[in-house]
């Protein structure tokens, strides 16, 4: 399974689309969005968390794109004809997602610290990165559900819609404060909004709120069930 993880991480990092869309884009957008117009400095931190989360969500969903691609190539079927068990393959994929979200998180946080002059205590940097990393798990599961449940083309489109929709709605790109009242109410239920809430709280030296943890747990269970159902429904045809 570790060999499989290594192979898949390598394949992901060689994907130009992943490196540009999942790592470079969030960094560029972060630098752009925080350096136009006036800013009191708090947005530099909040946007850093938001864009790191955006990159993490995109990278997590990309894991599902990889699954859909490998299904269409027949590679997952080929693996079924080797001694590897299906469990090893699925867990290896989930772990691949856990590893490949790290570059985006690290790159945006580095840009915040080195370019935008965000100053946090060492433990706050570590805690922010760790929380963003853990909070990416539901999105990896959502991606796996898409990858096992949908065709390669559909997965690409659905992943992109999920990524952009959840990012904008959750306030990862623009502050939720700019939203109309009703949209702010909707945003509070999105997993992305709660991820950024967690990160902003820790970066501001506060404990994560119970509400954020609760909402994310619900999404974790929902996306987890979705991934299991999608896998069960299609495992036979792989």
């Amino acid at each position: 399974m570790w060999d499989y993880l290594r192979l898949e991480v390598r394949r992901t990092l060689r994907d130009t689309g992943f490196v540009i869309g999942g790592i470079a884009m969030p960094v560029l957008m972060y630098l752009l969005f925080t350096n136009i117009g006036d800013d009191d400095g708090s947005w530099r931190t909040a946007s850093m968390v938001g864009m790191a989360a955006y990159g993490a969500v995109g990278s997590a969903l990309n894991t599902g794109g990889g699954v859909a691609e490998d299904r269409s190539l027949g590679w997952l079927r080929q693996l079924r004809a080797t001694p590897m068990t299906s469990r090893q393959v699925v867990i290896g994929r989930a772990l691949t997602g856990a590893v490949t979200v790290l570059p985006a998180i690290c790159a945006v946080l580095l840009a915040g610290g080195l370019v935008n002059g965000v100053r946090l205590a060492a433990w706050q940097w570590a805690a922010t990165a760790l929380l963003l990393w853990l909070a990416s798990i539901p999105f990896t599961l959502l991606g796996l559900g898409n990858g096992y449940g949908l065709t390669a083309q559909t997965t690409g489109v659905v992943n992109m819609v999920c990524n952009l929709g959840l990012a904008v709605l959750g306030g990862l790109w623009f502050p939720v404060a700019l939203f109309p009242h009703w949209l702010r109410a909707v945003s509070a239920y999105t997993p992305t909004n709660r991820v950024s809430q967690l990160g902003v709280a820790v970066a501001g030296g506060h404990a994560p709120t119970a509400g954020a943890v609760a909402v994310l747990t619900v999404w974790l269970l929902a996306f987890g069930s979705y991934a299991v159902l999608a896998y069960r429904r299609n495992a036979g045809s792989i």
Binding site: R11, R14, G74, W75, R80, A81
Partner: protein, 349 residues
């Protein structure tokens, strides 16, 4: 079913065993009651047209699909167990190039899944891709990709090598090299099962040919035996206006086919047939030739229902005119299949 391990109690067991296996996809019976035993060390060709059920049979064999009825066993146990134990290597037909890995990375990864793999260099050498080791798999040509897939199948040093249409994208040169490698691999006492729709390949490279048609085994034996079962020879002559009535009753004759003004008799005893024709004064432009494997294949796979159900039946155009005494459903496969399968075929038609 006995619970002994693959390596233990299954030692004397056959490499492959299908018992009345059935697999349908919707209304299509892709495998329709298949009985097949393959002993260890045999090299067997699964021969049939597109859609004859070859790939479905291979899916059942690898445990990628479950039979709707009957059983499929590898080395005396369920296919999954043999696959988990690393006894099986497969080259799947529909597989395409794996993206963003090098040949070396891919083959080494697969080899690493098996308990007793071949050395990497040996695998690459055997598959003829030694010089491609550092190249990315998704940047190779179709033929090169196919050889990589062969390497993936070999890498684990499996006792049973399963190849689904392994030469489809290869040119003549690569094809010859491929078969040499396959033979070299089989020489070590390993079992090889490959599917093909090339008669020549099956005849030259397999010890035994299993002919599939519409999900059933219609013949099983050496190329020689298949030729014989289809009628040992073809006797052709000009009709010169004479009718065809009674020709099928001549000694040795199994079927009569008319092309234009020329009759072609498939016969088990060409001497007797020719003497009888001479007796009728019918010898004009006489030609006697041994039946080819193509003839055998067409005779075996062109059942009376083929025209109604099988779109590929057009390939057999001329036989539409045949007055075929083998139209009796029990007969065309009689010399080559076992009687039990015959009986079941009667039930399932």
């Amino acid at each position: 079913m006995a619970a002994d391990g693959v390596a233990g109690g299954g030692r004397a067991a056959r490499a492959v065993s299908f018992t009345r296996a059935v697999k349908s996809y919707g209304a299509v019976r892709a495998v329709a009651g298949m009985n097949l035993e393959i002993g260890r060390g045999e090299t067997v060709a699964l021969l049939g047209r597109n859609g004859a059920g070859k790939s479905t049979a291979i899916s059942l064999l690898l445990g990628l699909a479950e039979p709707d009825a009957g059983t499929v066993e590898l080395f005396g146990g369920p296919p999954e167990r043999a696959v988990r134990a690393g006894l099986v290597g497969a080259m799947l037909q529909e597989a395409r190039a794996v993206t963003r890995v090098t040949v070396r990375e891919l083959v080494a990864f697969v080899a690493g899944r098996y308990p007793d793999p071949l050395p990497l260099g040996e695998v690459l050498e055997l598959a003829g891709i030694g010089e491609l080791a550092g190249r990315r798999v998704d940047r190779l040509s179709g033929g090169q990709t196919q050889r990589v897939r062969f390497a993936v199948a070999l890498a684990g040093n499996p006792s049973l090598l399963v190849l689904d249409e392994p030469t489809a994208a290869l040119d003549v040169e690569a094809r010859r090299a491929f078969w040499e490698s396959m033979r070299a691999y089989a020489r070590g006492g390993r079992t090889v099962l490959f599917s093909t729709h090339y008669l020549e390949e099956a005849d030259v490279h397999a010890d035994r040919i299993v002919v599939l048609d519409r999900g059933r085994i219609v013949a099983d034996g050496t190329g020689e035996r298949l030729r014989h079962s289809a009628g040992g020879a073809l006797v052709a002559f000009d009709l010169a206006g004479r009718g065809t009535a009674g020709l099928e009753l001549l000694p040795g004759v199994r079927s009569v086919e008319v092309r234009g003004d020329r009759a072609r008799l498939r016969t088990d005893d060409s001497d007797a047939t020719v003497i009888a024709l001479a007796g009728l004064g019918a010898i004009r432009g006489l030609e006697v030739a041994p039946a080819s494997l193509d003839d055998a294949f067409l005779a075996l796979t062109t059942g009376p229902t083929a025209h109604a159900t099988d779109p590929t039946a057009h390939a057999t155009g001329p036989t539409a005119q045949t007055t075929d005494p083998t139209a009796d459903p029990a007969d065309p496969t009689a010399p080559a299949t076992d009687p039990a399968a015959q009986a079941r075929e009667g039930e399932t038609v």
